[in-house]
Symmetry: C2
């Protein structure tokens, strides 16, 4: 595990160095200051790390691989910048969101710019055909669909667990799929190989998001780098909120209306605990992580172990 950890830290540093080295112009500062600020922000770089791990399976030139990795990280960044406006989130990775530090117009434009730069980087890959860019853009559209469902859910009284899982697969899973699949597509591998990577990413994404929902209720603000409970106050539907609301409608509504800002987190935590919702959600996350491991096992690559350890890393994260 230690060698693997060293590898991850090495890749992460390389990604951060490459992000810093991106030739983002100085002017117009209205566009590029927020973009630079956004790229300087924290982030675990899990998606570009996955790109590098998958690319190692085919010994792809790390410089070329970095182009895919950066374009995936920038795509991720772009969606966060725009989502933060839509969700009115004020903090991200421990720093003010762009629309909070500047304004909505700056954040819209910064997001547009980041996504465009992602594509410009992707287009510097040598000898690619349409397949890479095509998959990249289909991924973005799916992420937009996921965000659309998420926004729609805010105003719906009942969300089924199935609908929620479909939403997070689009919003989170699609991008992890792309991180896994793009190096494979770039290397000209078969459709069935691409499909396994796609499944792997989707399972991993669902595991990741369900675990994120769990961490939101079990972790603290400082560790998460964003204001907790904010999602709950805004009636953001997590898998646990959906289970609670669908199964115990009266009890849940009563709990929410009788709680104050100071005790709501504890009250919710106890409720999820007593009803077995935490346990059930943990085992649901476990199911998705194990399914992603099964998908990896089907891949004919020499560094399966690295990908399996990557799943462990995500499963064991505490923030």
């Amino acid at each position: 595990m230690s060698d693997f950890n060293d590898l991850i830290i090495f890749i992460q540093k390389e990604i951060n160095k490459s992000l810093k080295r991106l030739p983002i112009p100085d002017k117009p500062s209205y566009l590029y200051d927020p973009i630079r600020y956004s790229l300087k922000g924290g982030g675990k770089r899990l998606r570009p790390i996955l790109v590098h791990l998958m690319g190692r399976a085919f010994n792809i030139d790390p410089d070329e691989l970095m182009k895919i990795a950066l374009s995936i990280e920038l795509l991720h960044n772009f969606t966060l910048v725009h989502d933060d406006i839509m969700d009115k989130d004020t903090m991200r990775h421990g720093q003010k969101t762009i629309h909070t530090k500047w304004d909505t117009s700056s954040a819209i434009l910064a997001g547009d710019g980041i996504y465009t730069i992602a594509q410009i980087i992707l287009n510097t890959l040598s000898g690619i055909d349409n397949a890479v860019s095509s998959y990249f853009n289909k991924t973005t559209l799916e992420i937009c669909e996921g965000q659309a469902l998420d926004k729609k859910f805010e105003n719906e009284p009942i969300i089924t667990e199935k609908a929620y899982l479909n939403m997070i697969e689009k919003k989170t899973g699609a991008l992890l799929s792309a991180a896994a699949a793009l190096p494979v597509i770039y290397n000209g591998e078969s459709q069935s190989f691409i499909n396994y990577c796609d499944s792997f990413g989707r399972y991993l994404g669902n595991g990741f998001q369900i675990q994120d929902d769990l961490l939101e209720i079990t972790s603290d603000e400082k560790t998460m780098g964003k204001s907790l409970e904010s999602d709950i106050y805004k009636c953001k539907k997590t898998i646990m909120v959906i289970k609670a609301h669908n199964r115990y409608p009266q009890k849940w509504d009563k709990l929410i209306s009788n709680s104050s800002k100071n005790n709501i987190k504890n009250n919710i935590h106890s409720f999820f605990d007593e009803t077995g919702i935490i346990k059930e959600t943990k085992s649901s996350a476990e199911f998705y992580f194990n399914s992603s491991r099964e998908a990896i096992k089907k891949l004919k690559i020499h560094n399966k172990n690295e990908l399996l350890q990557f799943v462990d890393l995500i499963e064991k994260r505490t923030y």
Copy 2:
């Protein structure tokens, strides 16, 4: 001219048919309803028409050409949807803007989706290398820079005419350049050929925008399909406002503060007229249109005449 008009109407109809036929999914409606609404809206389709005219020079398969044309129109559409949020514009082509009919979140997401669909369409072009997509995305980044400058100008007391012309070249000219250059790049023509197309588009764009500024003050709301004077009330800097403000700062400020909603347009019109600003602006537009004609004359293509007539069409438009 009649044959040419028939050709333009034919191309315009084909573009509208193709836009209608785009396989935009039904769900999630939160994402796709605003996108469908936006694409149904009016618009002169000047940019995709230019794509077709330029493609005719090389006898490019019209179906392939249509992919470039649609991606250019969608790129244009995407920038309008996001610009309308930033500029708080409520009407566009005679219908409510997306953020007015729905909300800001829907409009941000619709814009993102439209731009992504534009790229998905571009990637269905057969046998393209990175050059087409690369130019397409560099164009978008330049348009973002133009919009950033435009937003920045809102809060600056003095804008030079040179800075304004640089801004509109990015905001308007870059896309017309792309409309002219992409078929040429797709056909694998030389860099010098691409450069002439680029210059042609930039001159045409500046002519187009300066004329737009003129029409804003000489046309009426019904013809323009958007609320006039709104730009003036919001201190939007047009080339004429810049000239007036820079040369007659006191007189201009006095005129604005002494005018009511009912007489401001007439007052401004008279002021621009008396000071010779209208005349000067007209001759500036003429200069750019003539420069775009000069660029066309340098192109070795059989349908120069169509492109020259296209410039005439734009120069003579009344809305």
